[in-house]
Assembly symmetry: C2
Homo-oligomer: 328 residues x 2
């Protein structure tokens, strides 16, 4: 029996074909597989590309697969309707069962087998979940850039842009972030006041125009600049990252309950630095030594969920095998 | 000799036809006259409608007008180019001079004749300017909803939405804002957790969906709810309005210099309540009794600027006459 786990993300999609022992026999990739961010036609094409890649590698067909789990954000936004993806796969010969799962549950299952535990994701957005009995029973934040995503890549990137704007507007202190943000946006005008109209600098006018020309969520692209400036001991950058870490701790506390492993993923927590340090320090202080696992995608977890759906008794050894079989 | 002042705002446009003594002989209205928010065809049509209304009332034609001042936000965004509005007016018989002015300078001139003073506007956005020699020499904030506009209608409305979301997500205290915001967005689902997916309430899911379906700036529509809740002594609403007032004080301080009159306009400062109280308390404490003037548009100021451009020596009496001639 073969199962397939698909991690359909906003940037990339990964598909894993595995045996009932969790041995990976095929792996495929696609670009954005999330219909919310890319539209159904593109998402479908990329999910199919990833699935086809995994099948090709194993010399298998869809008829050989008994269960497919597709993990994606907003998985229930369409009331769980899977027709847009199930119908084409059925036409291609799939005769098994397809289920959608939360990307957060898949991320958790990529790092832990325990039925009770916590997942924290912090990439462009930020969210925490509590898992009990293998299901998500509580969620905090994940409210998007306008209302939440506290401590996320967007949150950090917006803080960098605001720090630069504040320095140029006389509201905030000088910071190494200002030249970095100006350079990143191509705002190369003079920074002295009175250069532009109404007593403002040309650089500030250019920067504000450049920032509003982007989609808000694109401010997340400035997050790496904050890590760079913090490495160079810039106090404003260090304050932003410290607050980001504290916000993530707060989000995690909102779903806290019975102790369990904590699985974290996403670019902001996965890279070393202040946010991850703050998280570890909090967890050590609150719980003593405990399991804190970093994962780089939900691909292993989607595969683990597919195995569980298909009736396989999974354990730590199964997870180790699945993870070992997935290319970096 | 006749001059015309046009206050071309994002919501409405006002045109005033005045004699060289500042007597208003015609008044006209149009809808949005700002090309940034409405596009040039609509903005042009509405500005022409307001101008035609003012001319009709006086039985005058464009040939009788020697100077037109059009005050609008982002007046220099097109490098001051006035062709889009000057060419059609010239075709209609206008043979005088047309100049663009900052909406903030026009607002200041609606309330004060002194060459040195301060303007503070707080409607959907928030900004402060210092005027010297009749020109704006320093500007603070006005940086838009994503980067600034601290204390503005958007800032207050977003805080109301965030307070509701935070209560429903378990992050913030109970507040009278939550039912008000839920009602305003039509989020009528159950508020108890676990009703929706992944341990969230249906009401929170509905609210978040409704908020992201709007343009961000539309969150300013919630600002009146905060004043209502503050009137009913809701502590969260009172804290939001107190912080808004303090932010406006801070923005005004960023442009402070030689003492002068302070002219304020915009829906948030014009209505009574905590933000205006905070401003008055700060000004009294910092400067003792001094001139604080509320104005309801830049129409009088645009007319005063047109008179000054046309070589008329204006004084407090001229301003009094212009203001008296403009319908509420």
């Amino acid at each position: 029996m073969l199962v397939m786990g698909v991690d359909a993300g906003g940037t990339s999609t990964r598909a894993v074909l595995a045996t009932d022992r969790g041995e990976c026999v095929g792996f495929g990739r696609g670009a954005s597989g999330n219909p919310t961010s890319s539209g159904i036609p593109v998402a479908l094409a990329e999910v199919r590309r990833a699935i086809a890649g995994a099948l090709d590698e194993a010399g298998a067909t869809l008829a050989d697969v008994s269960w497919i789990v597709v993990a994606m954000a907003g998985h229930d936004a369409r009331g769980g309707a899977s027709d847009w993806i199930l119908d084409p796969l059925t036409q291609d010969g799939f005769a098994g069962t397809l289920t959608f799962e939360s990307d957060l549950l898949a991320m958790y299952a990529s790092g832990a087998v325990a039925p009770v535990g916590y997942g924290l994701v912090c990439g462009t957005g930020a969210s925490a979940v509590r898992v009990e009995g293998g299901r998500i029973v509580a969620t905090a934040d994940g409210l998007g850039w306008l209302l939440g995503d506290r401590g996320s890549g967007f949150w950090i990137g917006r803080a960098a842009a605001a720090a630069a704007v504040d320095e140029l507007d006389g509201l905030g202190p000088a910071t190494a972030l200002t030249p970095l943000v100006l350079q990143a946006t191509g705002a190369t005008g003079a920074r002295d006041a009175d250069g532009g109209e109404d007593g403002r600098s040309v650089a500030l006018e250019q920067l504000v125009r450049a920032l509003y020309a982007r989609r808000p969520v694109q401010l997340a692209a400035f997050a790496p600049l904050v890590f760079d400036a913090a490495d160079a001991e810039d106090p404003v950058a260090r304050r932003i990252l410290t607050e980001a870490g504290d916000q993530l701790v707060r989000t995690l506390e909102l779903v806290s309950g019975t102790p369990g492993p904590i699985v974290a993923g996403g670019s902001i927590v996965s890279r070393g630095g202040i946010p991850q340090d703050r998280l570890r320090a909090h967890l050590d202080a609150a719980f003593g030594r405990q399991s804190f696992v970093l994962v780089d995608s939900g691909a292993a977890g989607a595969t683990m969920l597919a195995l569980r759906h298909a009736g396989v008794e999974v354990d730590e050894e199964t997870l180790r095998r699945v993870r070992a079989g997935i290319p970096a």
